[in-house]
């Protein structure tokens, strides 16, 4: 078999594999960016000890222990607290003053993974005096990641970076005010999440569940293909109040999105958009 044919076969198998995951477990990765998902599934395939995606499909369908392992490859959990500090500084200095004018606030952290972004926002809102009137929704499709988010425990080795980011984000006081360190781990103050609802939610297949004032969805869209990015941004558009805010990742853009006209690019450098008043 030539290399070209082998690659075509492999891509057919990949497509069928994603279809099988969907039909069997209702996790829909069919609209994910193929290049990235293929790379991660090749790693999973090697780890699980299969030589083809068809073999992996067989294992996945018949051995229920395989899916949770696969989900950790299919959903990427790479995040840091206050990642891209400029984003959080811009929220603090330019967006929160707007949000202060509302009597109550709802914030949706979409694709919250293991919670780093949620805790960053909760700390930010506490520091700016908005915590008591804010409700946070933290959603993800990966139950394991949501459990980690709810626990709020991070490796102590990561704290130096988190601390530096917090300071660069204009943090008031020290990050150490918000966690206790023990046994190599930092356990974040559980009162930070007392106003948070953690929930399983898929940007691919679920619909809007609340009206919100701010959506923060960073480095999630980059895993989606174009049509799925359109769907996700459409959900955010629907969920946001008029003149509500949308923050996305530093390298993400609405430029190629079907809903680009529904938003104004408020702070282009920090990728913070505002929903238009007439939408």
């Amino acid at each position: 078999m030539t290399s070209d044919t082998a690659m075509k076969t492999e891509n057919i198998e990949l497509q069928l594999f994603l279809e099988a995951v969907y039909q069997r477990y209702h996790y829909d990765f069919r609209g994910y960016s193929k290049a990235s998902i293929k790379r991660r599934l090749l790693l999973a395939r090697e780890r699980i000890g299969c030589t083809t995606f068809s073999g992996l499909q067989d294992r996945m369908l018949h051995d229920h222990a395989v899916l949770p392992q696969l989900l950790d490859y299919l959903t990427v959990q790479v995040s840091d607290m206050f990642r891209d500090p400029g984003y959080f500084r811009a929220l603090r200095e330019q967006i929160l003053p707007h949000l202060k004018t509302y009597p109550s606030l709802k914030v949706w952290v979409a694709g919250c993974s293991s919670g780093e972004e949620l805790y960053s926002l909760a700390i930010l809102f506490r520091e700016e005096g908005l915590e008591s009137k804010t409700m946070f929704y933290a959603t993800d499709i990966n139950a394991g990641a949501l459990a980690k988010a709810e626990a709020g425990v991070y490796d102590l080795q990561r704290i130096a970076l988190f601390t530096r980011n917090h300071r660069l984000a204009g943090g008031r006081g020290s990050l150490s005010d918000y966690y206790t360190a023990a046994y190599g781990a930092a356990r974040f103050d559980k009162t930070l999440r007392r106003r948070t609802v953690f929930s399983d939610h898929s940007l691919v297949s679920d619909s809007v569940f609340a009206e919100v004032h701010l959506v923060s969805c960073r480095n999630v869209l980059i895993y989606f293909d174009r049509p799925m990015q359109d769907r996700a941004i459409g959900l955010f558009k629907e969920a946001l109040v008029r003149k509500g805010f949308l923050g996305i990742g530093a390298r993400e853009s609405l430029r190629f999105n079907a809903h680009v006209k529904a938003f104004t690019e408020l702070l282009p450098g920090e990728r913070i958009y505002q929903k238009r008043g007439d939408e």
Binding site: M7, S36, R39, R226, R255, F256
Partner: protein, 201 residues
């Protein structure tokens, strides 16, 4: 078209990928300025850069080049006559619909962006229509990717280790792809220009 300096290889690539690390600025400053503004191919470049500050290389090269130079954006369609750089702290991948993806997965070979990640995805998207170039660098990133390009039928050329500021990256690529041609920057520049059908170097 001026004869390609790649003997026995008359295929015309439809895209070019370049990987480099230490010594990248010197090498790219030789290779990219001769290219015409209407160079007919897209060039995708992954250079190892620090994660926590802006990449200064595109701006530096923009002052010296006629071909358009930019940092890649997520889901951006690939346009010929443009050099796309992987941004700091993100991998750069090519989708099969010829758009760019910038996932934020774990580092590979301690690198994000990683040359292997770019090359493997480009090999998948372009198959035999790809020219991959490994330049100077002080680690082994790119070797696996170069092999993937070869296996998909693409062309791999490598900056000769003796002419590179850091020889480990080209040497590792040559070990992984023993049939890849090694050449100095002057010959590499000629090769690149020839891909555009005009030699102005």
């Amino acid at each position: 078209m001026t004869a390609l300096p790649l003997h026995g290889c008359l295929r015309e690539p439809r895209a070019i990928v370049i990987g480099a690390s230490a010594g990248a600025v010197t090498a790219l400053s030789r290779l990219l300025p001769p290219l015409a503004a209407d160079f007919p191919l897209a060039i995708l470049v992954t250079v190892h850069v620090p994660a926590d500050k802006p990449n200064s290389i595109p701006a530096l090269l923009r002052t010296k080049c006629r071909i358009a130079i930019k940092e890649a954006e997520d889901k951006e369609p690939i346009v010929p006559g443009t050099v796309y750089f992987a941004p700091p702290d993100y991998h750069l991948l090519v989708e099969r619909d010829r758009r760019l993806s910038l996932p934020n997965e774990e580092p590979v070979n301690f690198s994000r962006p990683s040359v292997d990640v770019l090359f493997e995805s480009a090999a998948d998207a372009y198959g035999k229509d790809l020219l991959a170039i490994i330049l100077s660098g002080a680690n082994e990133d790119g070797a696996k990717g170069a092999r993937a390009v070869r296996e998909a039928g693409g062309i791999v050329v490598v900056q000769s280790p003796d002419s590179a500021e850091a020889r480990m990256m080209p040497e590792s690529a040559l070990t992984a792809c023993p049939k890849a041609r090694a050449m100095n920057l002057h010959t590499l520049a000629e090769l690149l220009c020839a891909c555009g059908g005009t030699v102005q170097c």
